[in-house]
């Protein structure tokens, strides 16, 4: 496909029979021989290998050499408590804009002398420009371009990695480690985007293929494409930037209040001090007009993105719209994520999604639709 970038694993994807699609400027595998449904179920029952090298990896180094200065500077861009984050841990956070919307969602890891960010592929350029503009006085911003990113997810992910690094079983959810291996230096985090236990591994591009093949050589590990990555994250209730969150959605609207730690909330030690704090802190206390909720359609018809939501089976104005929806292979029924008026967003409320001209009932449901089993 013309004009598209390829990751270090492209040849391996083709060899494995992948069907590829354009995604965020990259030619990426959407499914392999197993197909989306079986890839999804395999990841939930065993282990899946994902190429997520299209995501941006960014290093933020304090010019002073003092990590506290980098954490303090980065706190001016996100509502996370980073001064309180321990070295060797990572946290999910949001780059917010002046209107209280979300520029991107990302992982930030605290290392001995820098912060390590993993950002969405489609937002990489926007994020880098934002960081340069806002942090240039205090930090060196360096995009990592020579490293691939692999995710190993599922209940057998830890066992699959034991042969790569023996210390893997000591890591807890959201721990980060930098370790030497036969595949060069690996930056490992115990995290992911599937609602499963698992790891993300940043590896030098030259070792990405050999590492992937060493993992795939194990019976427990199958390659998983973007199709199943989407259905896995949907069941886990996780946000996809551009679908579930964007520059117009606030953390409270997106049901991401948990990403704003106490220190940054009203009355906290470092309350506010990030873009859009006025709206974001106000909504944390008083709520927002709309809210991102889970929906379980009662029938088998999936309610996909764009489906309009109504309060009644006939008549009345729309009260919201589905932002992500499809079939959940593990729960064996369709599931959706939607924005609805907050007063209609309580779990157990019946609403109606308009599918092909007919209003079909759905129940507002707590997310995740399927409980994760993280190693805490």
């Amino acid at each position: 496909m013309a004009g598209l970038k390829r990751t270090a694993l492209y040849d391996l994807h083709i060899e494995l029979g992948a069907e590829t699609v354009p995604f965020a400027g990259y030619e990426m595998p959407v499914r392999y021989a197993l197909g989306v449904m079986r890839e999804h179920l395999h990841c939930r029952s065993s282990a899946g290998l994902f190429d997520v090298s299209h995501m941006g990896q960014i290093l933020v180094r304090p010019k002073s050499g003092d990590l506290v200065d980098a954490a303090r500077a980065f706190e001016t861009l996100v509502p996370a408590d980073l001064l309180g984050l321990k070295v060797g841990r990572q946290r999910y956070t949001l780059l917010t804009n002046e209107d209280g919307g979300i520029i991107d969602d990302l992982m930030v890891a605290k290392r001995a002398d820098h912060l390590f960010l993993v950002v969405n592929a489609a937002r990489r350029e926007v994020d880098l420009a934002h960081l340069e503009e806002r942090l240039a006085d205090t930090c060196e911003i360096e995009e990592v371009t020579d490293r691939a990113l692999l995710a190993v997810q599922g209940p057998k992910a830890e066992a699959a990695l034991e042969g790569i690094w023996s210390g893997i079983n000591c890591m807890r959810f959201m721990d980060v480690e930098t370790v030497g291996s036969e595949f060069g230096t690996l930056r490992i985090s115990r995290s992911g985007y599937t609602g499963e236990d698992g790891f993300e591994i940043s590896v030098s591009g030259q070792y990405a293929g050999p590492l992937a093949m060493a993992l795939l050589a194990q019976d427990s590990v199958e390659p998983i494409g973007l199709g199943a990555r989407d259905s896995l994250r949907l069941e886990a209730g996780l946000c996809l930037y551009g679908s579930d969150i964007d520059a117009s959605t606030s953390p409270t609207e997106a049901s991401l209040e948990w990403a704003v730690q106490k220190a940054r909330r009203a009355g906290g030690e470092r309350a506010g001090g990030f873009p859009g704090a006025g709206r974001i802190l106000r909504e944390l206390q008083h709520g927002a007009r709309r809210r991102r909720v889970g929906l379980m359609p009662e029938g088998r018809a999936p309610m996909r993105a764009g489906t309009r939501i109504y309060r009644e089976p006939h008549g009345g104005d729309s009260i919201g719209t589905v932002c992500s929806g499809g079939f959940g292979p593990s729960i064996e029924r369709p599931v959706s994520i939607a924005y609805v008026q907050s007063e209609q967003g309580h779990a157990g409320t019946t609403v109606y999604g308009e599918v092909r001209g007919r209003r079909l009932p759905a129940t507002v449901t707590e997310m995740p639709f399927r409980s994760p089993d993280f190693k805490r």
């Binding site: 989306v36 449904m37 079986r38 199709g227 499809g326 369709p334």
Partner: protein, 119 residues
């Protein structure tokens, strides 16, 4: 067996025609998760959207291949949509409909011609 450009197959039995989707179509769709069929007795015109099939990827319409009336539908694929991937050319037929003018079948492709279409 006859084939349409919309990747449906037709099998004539007496004055009825059984309609399903081809293996190529089922492979392109990926795992089928939802099927909606018309009610028996529905009168349809060629090209009408008579059924809906949704896979993990997307929703698609199934078009009536000829004018006629739906007389029987395959509820087994509504209950188990995955059958459409397992046996699209056999057990996972969609519906049976009347055929007013059998000569219309001459306008459809035979297996060799369809094979050329999908490469």
């Amino acid at each position: 067996m006859k084939f349409t450009e919309e990747h449906e197959w037709l099998r004539v039995e007496g004055d009825l025609v059984t309609v399903g989707i081809t293996r190529h179509a089922s492979e392109q769709l990926g795992d089928v998760v939802f099927v909606e069929l018309p009610g028996p007795g529905t009168k349809v015109a060629k090209g009408d959207e008579v059924a809906v099939i949704e896979s993990v990827k997307a929703a698609s319409d199934i078009l009536a291949p000829v004018d006629g009336e739906i007389v029987e539908v395959n509820d087994a694929i509504v209950d188990s949509p995955g059958k459409v991937n397992e046996d699209p050319m056999g057990d996972a037929w969609f519906f049976k409909m009347t055929l007013s003018d059998i000569s219309i079948l001459d306008s459809f492709m035979d297996e060799a011609e369809y094979g050329e279409l999908v490469g």
